[in-house]
Assembly symmetry: C2
Homo-oligomer: 133 residues x 2
Amino acid sequence: MENQQDNAPCVGHDFSACSKRIAAVHDTMDVLNGKWKIAIISLLGFGTRRYSEILKEVEGISGKMLSRELKDMELNLLVKRTVVSEQPIAVAYSLTDYCVDLLPIIHSLAEWGTKHRQVIVQQIKGEPVLEMG
Amino acid sequence: MENQQDNAPCVGHDFSACSKRIAAVHDTMDVLNGKWKIAIISLLGFGTRRYSEILKEVEGISGKMLSRELKDMELNLLVKRTVVSEQPIAVAYSLTDYCVDLLPIIHSLAEWGTKHRQVIVQQIKGEPVLEMG
DNA sequence: CTGCATCCTGGGCGATACTG
DNA sequence: CAGTATCGCCCAGGATGCAG
């Protein structure tokens, strides 16, 4: 699979390298779908959190969505759910070792986001006010 | 911003590192929103493509969505649009240098997706899944 | 060929109330 | 505190048709 250069053009019938890569990325984004999962992973990357803590620290998420996302992520082996105490109930969530592999990627995403914000700001300041659709 | 260890727990008032990172990732995912942009970038990472080529190679995308995504990505300086010929009209799309920075990340995403697919298949087959955490 | 307008549907997601 | 149930909005995105 890796005898293909990253930036080599893929013309004609050298089709499969492209589509395989696209499919693989699709698999990942399928698991990371929705508005919240990446943020949750990013947060849990800083350490174990309880349900209510995530609710507070992930700005804007509702309880329903948090439950749903967490359950989904558990099924996909991204997070581990641990009942800490029964009365009152407390549940802790942490990343699986396997999901930890995503952290460097997500970190890169964060860095790019920071850079992008600057680039766009420059564009807006620099350009002679063009009306954007 | 980087005096924070990647895996250091962020408790109590060490709140801002978490939320800043989350916000930055959010910025990126905001730009990469929707079902198609990452796939398009991944494809264009293999080389310049024409509109109709992208339409064929990105499995499942409709013409409307492709136009929309491409326009959006152009505004965000992710792709460059070049009119190749007028009669009949032909348009080539390529990644900006700046968007090329995303390729390694997307490549990592692809690798993780491949791995994940295997893990999930193992899990479904009931094979002893690796012990997490 | 490239790309826009229109119509339409599914489901993602928010708000709120409720259970254990 | 953790999680579910219900209701409903809204918009991403599919299908189709038209225009330059």
